[in-house]
Symmetry: C3
Subunit: 336 residues, 3 copies
Amino acid sequence: MFLRNCWYVIAWDYEIPADGLFARTVLNEPIVVFRTATGYAALEDRCCHRHAPLSKGRKEGDQLRCGYHGLKFDAGGQCVDAPGLDRVPSGAKVRSYPIVARNKWLFVWMGDPAKAEERLLPDNFSNDHPDWRNKPGYLHYATPYLLICDNLLDFSHLSYVHEKTLGGSTAIARARPEIEVLERGVRVTRRVPDVPPPPYYHNIRKFSGNVDRWFIYDFLFPGTLLMSSGGKLAGQQEANPANSVMLHSCQTLTPETANATHYFFQQSHRADAGDASLTEGIFQSLIIAFNEDRDMIKAQSESIARNPGAAMLPLGIDSALVRYRRLLEEAIARDG
Amino acid sequence: MFLRNCWYVIAWDYEIPADGLFARTVLNEPIVVFRTATGYAALEDRCCHRHAPLSKGRKEGDQLRCGYHGLKFDAGGQCVDAPGLDRVPSGAKVRSYPIVARNKWLFVWMGDPAKAEERLLPDNFSNDHPDWRNKPGYLHYATPYLLICDNLLDFSHLSYVHEKTLGGSTAIARARPEIEVLERGVRVTRRVPDVPPPPYYHNIRKFSGNVDRWFIYDFLFPGTLLMSSGGKLAGQQEANPANSVMLHSCQTLTPETANATHYFFQQSHRADAGDASLTEGIFQSLIIAFNEDRDMIKAQSESIARNPGAAMLPLGIDSALVRYRRLLEEAIARDG
Amino acid sequence: MFLRNCWYVIAWDYEIPADGLFARTVLNEPIVVFRTATGYAALEDRCCHRHAPLSKGRKEGDQLRCGYHGLKFDAGGQCVDAPGLDRVPSGAKVRSYPIVARNKWLFVWMGDPAKAEERLLPDNFSNDHPDWRNKPGYLHYATPYLLICDNLLDFSHLSYVHEKTLGGSTAIARARPEIEVLERGVRVTRRVPDVPPPPYYHNIRKFSGNVDRWFIYDFLFPGTLLMSSGGKLAGQQEANPANSVMLHSCQTLTPETANATHYFFQQSHRADAGDASLTEGIFQSLIIAFNEDRDMIKAQSESIARNPGAAMLPLGIDSALVRYRRLLEEAIARDG
């Protein structure tokens, strides 16, 4: 059901305590994460002995001790001490997951560890780059992740769900996006010429009239959005940092279970175009807008769950999400 | 499982906002109701496109626009605008339900629209009649509606569940009701001679001694009670508005799902026998008593759910409910 | 699934009101308990008529009246009055359970009443004995009872779960228990020589150095622990009330359902070794420690429920619980 051979974000790096354990479920698998001298360890969050969650134990250096009967595991998942036994059975071990930190996101590899390659990490540069500033965000969704992918793949909803926040014009819904197939996802380009600037633009730059807006993003397996967006005075020839609003956003969806999703995101502005109050303002706008999304998608999800077999009516405006879902299904079929 | 070709009350008219949308589920089907220039519209509360609830959208005149991607529907359920598309596909529509307002109740027809006839509406006159006064009530039950029908069809419970409120005497339990079969339900006549007046009578009329009480009601498919009840001084020949307590009640049960029920009710007193404080007092008594019922029926329902196959022991006191359930089953078998 | 022909504790005697009804579910069966002139009655908590819980009715002397339609039952479960009927049908009855009070615990027999013998009651003497003092406790667990049996059968967890409360030393985990098979359970003897006294000992007796601790308990079907434990100055020859900490504990588990458990317990100190503040102090320590257990076992139970088929890894430290589970399975197979 899930694509397994790929990287999933399990946490922002700041979520992992210096001297403790951090628990989160990914693809139905409970995982415990902790820091080691050289990086991070990610283990199955279930003791092999009596299935107590290891995250209720404690970190002992680069190792973890179960809080129930005291079995101790190293960062690779091997049990190295079992109180009351002279010898630890070799079968006493838990699964460990490849884990990599890149630009403040911690990625775990949920498939075959031999296939875990860092070149497959998405280019989430703006998370942590001197030219860009942002405040990191996290939301929990009680809905399947694909419904949130759909939302991110069809920006026509901006005109309705975010009418008073991100949207500001029904012209977004009426603009036709271009869709290009990538090796592991799609690229969506949406240009919306000559519309009023959305309210939050005013905190970055005052425009004397309408703007041309653009949204250009890669949407990559399993559910990562990397987007350049912005606006310039309508009709003006070239956008550049001095005359435009330029933004970069990294967002990613990690299924917690079939019906719940972790959402990690940030929207960056250029470091030379605003101060900490702008960073905070963009973050607050995003939280409001993403709660609007979550509210709608939760209602949609409950509506679907009430009648799971019922057919939807595909429309032309769904082309990006239809294409992405088909590509993802093919990738899942090839997976493993 | 449910009788479909009949009218179900979906709301009191005052529940529908002047300029907004109202959502309620009937027979497992989520429905959105809104006012139009000529009355009301009731649509399936699920957009045909991506299944978002339409009730999260907005009313635009006599039409409704979905809040997710902006599809707009007319009062008949036809999509008349789809932003981003040049032409609306003819298949873009949602189900609409016949809806009728009668004496402050809004009725929807859940079966074949061609069979929706207004002559099948129950005679809920006292809801809205110059000779009668009441305050409308609504309760939500987390139980199957048939358990509440049972309750309304066997007033012997008044002596125990409502011992200190509506009841006032074990004589009610000991009185034998007469039961008459109607075209679409039963008529139950219960006369309880020479008993102390129940406490709430004191707010209407002081009696110098015991009273003769009567409860005469039609209980009609799917679960509507229309009742005349009252009391006169015991042994006195004729009841009339000047010497008696005379009440009329309209109550109706609408299944929300197999395990939950909407309960709409009012108990009217004569307009010439009391003021607004009496109206309010009767309403408050009813709320207390109906919460007593709900508490008991919820406990009963949970008890049944714990052991759903277990047989009940039919007793002579169950004759009205046994007869009603059988008639309703026959009607459901004929339905459609 | 459950052993039926045995006594289960349903309540502490003080839980049953003088003039009311007490409801608790045992082995999935809701039971109502009330006092009679000669002792207690325990009936199925479901009226035979329409399945309302009898515990929502009222006690009338040695009888109970249903609160819905007024049927009255005697202490043996026979219906003796049905308002509105001239004659009570002989089939109108509910199940009654043998119930015995012994040392403040009320035991019900869940199997064949003909097999209910008082000699099968556990020897819970310290609950109510002039030489011992305690405060009774009750906790509800949202977990299967066998996971709590496991916990009580492997005290190695004291070193980790109760590191800062009951435990105080990893030596407990490293000590090997002796296990002896009894007719209806096992006897576990665990001696832990030369360890620091646990914190709560200080309230009973000051030791000048390390202590030798012992835990000797019978663990009897279905889940009753009867334990003598204590400590004396390390190396000293004989323990006696004047030089040692001596404790006696009675604890018992009663399955409420397959996934929930009632836990009744007390830990007694000798009446000659402390006052009411010691009794209260021991009780408070126990509550803290038992909440530590409950927290861990709930986490373990949720972990197991997430992946119910997954195999556990048996270790040498599990011998008591493995043996007890096998004996109990054999007893259940023979049961009935």
